[in-house]
Symmetry: D2
Subunit: 245 residues, 4 copies
Amino acid sequence: MIDKKLEELVKKSVTQTLQEKNVLGKYSKINEATQNSKKVLSEAYVAQPTKFNLNTELLSDKTKAAHQELFEGYIKELNATAAQLDTADRENVNPNHSQFRSLKLDEIHNHNASFLHGLYFQNISDVNSEISADSLAFMRLERDFGSFDLWQEDFVACCMAARNGWAMTVYSFNLKRYINTVIDLHDQHVMVSAFPVIVMDCWEHSYFKDYLKNRKAYVYGMMKELNWDVIEQRFKVADKIGALL
Amino acid sequence: MIDKKLEELVKKSVTQTLQEKNVLGKYSKINEATQNSKKVLSEAYVAQPTKFNLNTELLSDKTKAAHQELFEGYIKELNATAAQLDTADRENVNPNHSQFRSLKLDEIHNHNASFLHGLYFQNISDVNSEISADSLAFMRLERDFGSFDLWQEDFVACCMAARNGWAMTVYSFNLKRYINTVIDLHDQHVMVSAFPVIVMDCWEHSYFKDYLKNRKAYVYGMMKELNWDVIEQRFKVADKIGALL
Amino acid sequence: MIDKKLEELVKKSVTQTLQEKNVLGKYSKINEATQNSKKVLSEAYVAQPTKFNLNTELLSDKTKAAHQELFEGYIKELNATAAQLDTADRENVNPNHSQFRSLKLDEIHNHNASFLHGLYFQNISDVNSEISADSLAFMRLERDFGSFDLWQEDFVACCMAARNGWAMTVYSFNLKRYINTVIDLHDQHVMVSAFPVIVMDCWEHSYFKDYLKNRKAYVYGMMKELNWDVIEQRFKVADKIGALL
Amino acid sequence: MIDKKLEELVKKSVTQTLQEKNVLGKYSKINEATQNSKKVLSEAYVAQPTKFNLNTELLSDKTKAAHQELFEGYIKELNATAAQLDTADRENVNPNHSQFRSLKLDEIHNHNASFLHGLYFQNISDVNSEISADSLAFMRLERDFGSFDLWQEDFVACCMAARNGWAMTVYSFNLKRYINTVIDLHDQHVMVSAFPVIVMDCWEHSYFKDYLKNRKAYVYGMMKELNWDVIEQRFKVADKIGALL
């Protein structure tokens, strides 16, 4: 299904177009390489996953290694999906059975899985975790949830509510406030028009090895080590986006 | 379940805090009214739906009226959900059965339904629809899909692929490009970290009265009347967001 | 993706192996045609849809015709999916992106859609609808719901609850009783181990043309014309199954 | 939400009406206790979970204990949901937000989770596992999949395809054959009208503690110890059901 030439183009373009400063560390699309022809849609992109070295002692080395592998698996499949999409038939699509539909759904599944994991790894495992009361993060959570403690209570509730999925604090473009949301799997119950600032993995693969079914202990542990420096930067961007709306 | 006092507060705050310039026209949260106490989480918000008067002759008056009613129904339930969330128990939440979880899922369902409908009504029904080749919209679609025609082909394919749901062109914060996505119902397969710029309703209620099962005729019709002025403004915002990332 | 020879086999086998007495009227699998080789898995089956001629005046001719077409579309895609499954790679399957997974999901979607529609068409549109108090159906509903009226109330509630989907009364093998269930789309929230006896389509395509958003009027109308003779036969089978468990 | 009297009735009826021979070991509905009044719908049922003592050495004691606890949690929530359903408002139900809808969905989630786990625990962990070529199970799998090996290949593929969910071999009442299916979570992509005969848990909680992300090793292990005596009885029932259709 993957055109051989395209595959070569993809590989070639990786080395040419790696981009810095990205959730995944290095992530680049190959539009540049294929846009001259303008004959086919060019959705293929190539991601090279960051190697995360988590310092936390609240997760075992085995869990960390397995989680990194899962993360890399999602990125691999995201790339495979995107490559296949470039040549998928768009003429005869129907909602009941068509390759294009299946690929678009897998694309979102793997896209979300890849980037949510990136956001998660980046915002946990700060063994010197500290939030200052005059940080933007603190002030915004206080403004929109009533107090920092109430945000925590609500966020933990979201973590406990996910049916193998995620909890997130996002900035909602529509509500113009920060709000907590619950995701099942990687792409169910996702709020449209939102910018994630705090992300917690609540799939069983995150904690079952180390905490068995005690998800709450895992969540409390991760929350004690949230990287508020990373999170602060996200709030700054979110606030700037808010000003544009 | 809805506290009576809260309901009064909600109603009172509507008249006080209606906001201008919003996808829903007027949409305001009642945080202001309740934040003094800081005793409870304040998620309740109040939306007052815009009355859309669609000029298009490609949809019957009955379809237009029914669609407006559905839209108002979603907003009503969004408000009801948000009000109930304010007092929902957050201590004993689990993924298998808890009021908090059910409310959070209904919140997202109704949130997405409300705002997607708002975006949809705003970007259709321009009987003088025209896109200029030097508009930002045109240039970005050309850049990211190879050509305007290829965007169209891909977008129509997404419309045909949705299993009672939506097709959207969004700006993806992760991929740093515009991309088309398929949503089932209102909240399945939603891309995280994205800003919608073109939105098409592909639920059967949009077209079955007028087009029966001929979804393609409906989609082509709506696309001929896309409001490119409205869409242009969204691309401008999306591009500015892109510059912040 | 569909092997040409297989396609011929499929077509040939249709005329050979049509079976009588089936929810879909005529439905046959082509196992017989392919099992000699025993080289490949043979999941392909061929369905030939019944033409339903609904007498009811509560649905327009246009709705009836469009619904029959949708029904035939599901069967067509069920057959296409099954044919592709015969040769799909089973060695390199993963949960994130693989043709086998996509096909298995489409198979269930189209299977359920096909057979639920069959059950629905068969059990509505009896203009002389009547239920006798000494029928098995009546007695079982009374036994398991407290009274016939309570069953009705609960069933209508399920019809109103479906988010574009189905309501069903099923015999549950685990609970050993009849129970009402809500399905979203065709395959979400489906009870395992159950035998459907009463089936109501609550997708918008069933009623939007004729009733717009007044789903309740549609449901009441259909319930007045339930074919209790057809339903009685299903209860008899369900009860016999119950005796085997 | 749970009426106190009802709760007493429930407790009282447990001791009166425990039933033998059930997937969950002891499982009883309280219809008998409440049907005299015929004033309320009586959906509440009470399940008392079997304690499974798995002999297998392919799962750690910690995994076994945690899995038993999860199983008991599902049953607890199934009972809680059913009790709340007895008094839930059925008058004002809508698809967007209503307690009745939320409860019905949780009921199916916990019902499926409870009974699928029961079927799974019963059909694994036979350290002397053996299938005889003249067993009904063997002959039926050979008939419907071409050979026993082809069934295995297809079943393993389904195990690998599940996105945190289940693989099952079921007897399909519509197709009149055994077929393998993939379930996500506990209630997505479930085939209607089917009787499960072989059930494999593919949630991460089944294997992550012991096998990390190597799901295939877990699946192969469990398949080597399938309890074909238990499974044979299920095939016998399935075949008898088939004869009734």
